[in-house]
């Protein structure tokens, strides 16, 4: 019985791999051109939703669904992330045991800089996200790092995002082949199907934004991280970018990677870069 199964398996995958290789879509590895990618990416959504103002894309599902926009406007009068914002402000000014504060770790004291994150660290040769920089600041000052998916990290990033509200996303790709590779790696992750559901981020956020998966309306991929961190009614709590990536993975039945894994840092780098110019709108309230 065992032999029969592996024979069946072998022949099946051989046939399919042959088909995949012969398919017309196999192209030579083309040159990585982030500027062109960003332009194409933005134009795709501007044409798909001609009536949506460009800066509105940062409001996720609310930019493409009127009934939900009304519910959102009502919530924004007194948003549920108010507590996280106050907690973040308080934490930001509370000195560490060694007397230093987060302001000492960040340019401009950490105020109004969220739009520059994530950035490519040429010394480390990797993408550094705001959440990673916050934990590195804590560790450099002898404090224990926070969980990437829990409230403390969300409160800190909520306050830093709030101080950048309205500023256009401003992600830079230095002239460094490793930076281009990180951008390409992020793009590849964004478009690759995974999990038993066989979905990629693009299956939902490029092919069917504005449509519903049960109660949830899918947000367009353009500007999808501009509102991070978000208070989600679904979680009845705050969610960092890391928590969003981890939960999205498990919804497609893919085992999530560890928060701040290279793939997550690169896909955040890709998604933020293609949203350059669109305003920061965090912290956000979402379904």
């Amino acid at each position: 019985m065992k032999a029969r199964i592996s024979l069946l398996l072998g022949s099946l995958s051989a046939a399919l791999i042959a088909f995949a290789l012969a398919s017309p879509r196999v192209v030579a590895a083309d040159k990585v051109d982030p500027v062109a990618d960003a332009k194409a990416f933005q134009n795709f959504f501007f044409q798909k939703f001609p009536t949506v103002k460009h800066e509105d894309f940062v409001n996720g599902p609310y930019s493409v669904n009127e009934d939900m926009k009304r519910q959102w406007k009502e919530k924004e009068e007194f948003p549920p992330y108010e507590f996280a914002l106050d907690a973040g402000k308080e934490m930001f000014s509370t000195p560490f045991k060694n007397g230093k504060t987060y302001a000492d770790c960040f340019p401009n004291g950490g105020i109004g800089i969220r739009q520059d994150y994530p950035y490519f660290d040429t010394r480390e040769g990797k993408v550094v996200t705001l959440e990673l920089a916050l934990n590195r600041c804590r560790e450099a000052n002898g404090e224990a790092p926070y969980s990437y998916v829990k409230d403390e990290m969300a409160s800190l990033t909520a306050y830093m995002a709030f101080t950048s509200r309205g500023k256009p996303m401003n992600i830079k790709i230095p002239d460094d082949p490793r930076a281009l590779e990180a951008f390409e790696n992020g793009k590849r992750y964004f478009y690759s199907r995974r999990g038993q559901m066989n979905f990629s981020c693009a299956s939902c956020h490029v092919q069917s934004p504005g449509e519903r998966i049960r109660a949830e309306t899918l947000a367009p991929a353009l500007g999808i991280l501009n509102a991070m961190p978000i208070y989600r009614s679904e979680w009845a709590g705050m969610g960092t970018t890391s928590r969003r990536f981890v939960t999205c993975n498990s919804q497609t039945r893919a085992v999530p990677l560890e928060p701040q894994a290279d793939e997550y840092r690169d896909v955040e780098y890709f998604l933020s870069y293609v949203a350059n110019g669109l305003p920061i709108s965090g912290p956000g309230a979402r379904p």
Binding site: I5, D37, A202, V206, S250, A254, L257
Partner: protein, 110 residues
């Protein structure tokens, strides 16, 4: 441009689903502990390969756990079936990882 490709993708998904379903039905004489151990070993190896490709499926992990749980309970029929299912799922996720190395370009906004 992308429509032909996604039809092909749908076919590969359908085939892998059919493959998984066929395992549940295959009639077998009562599986012994040895059968279970062999099935579990190959399933575990396939799952490790999938994890190495950073493309593990949650259902593979649950199927492996179900196999171990059934085996602990002495039900080697169910344990072996679950282990075989885990192997099939792991193989499907491995196949997905390899095919996506190129297939993702079809969906890319250009």
């Amino acid at each position: 441009m992308s429509t032909t490709m996604s039809a092909a993708m749908k076919r590969t998904l359908a085939i892998s689903m059919l493959l998984v379903a066929s395992f549940a039905l295959s009639p077998a004489r009562a599986a012994t502990e040895a059968d279970y151990k062999a099935a579990y070993a190959t399933a575990d190896a396939a799952a490790k390969e999938a994890a190495g490709l950073r493309n593990q499926w949650t259902v593979t992990v649950t199927a492996l756990a179900a196999a171990k749980k059934a085996a602990d309970g002495g039900d080697f029929d169910r344990a072996t079936a679950a282990a075989n299912e885990a192997e099939a799922l792991a193989r499907a996720s491995i196949f997905q990882a390899y095919s996506e190395k190129e297939a993702w370009k079809a969906m890319e906004i250009r």
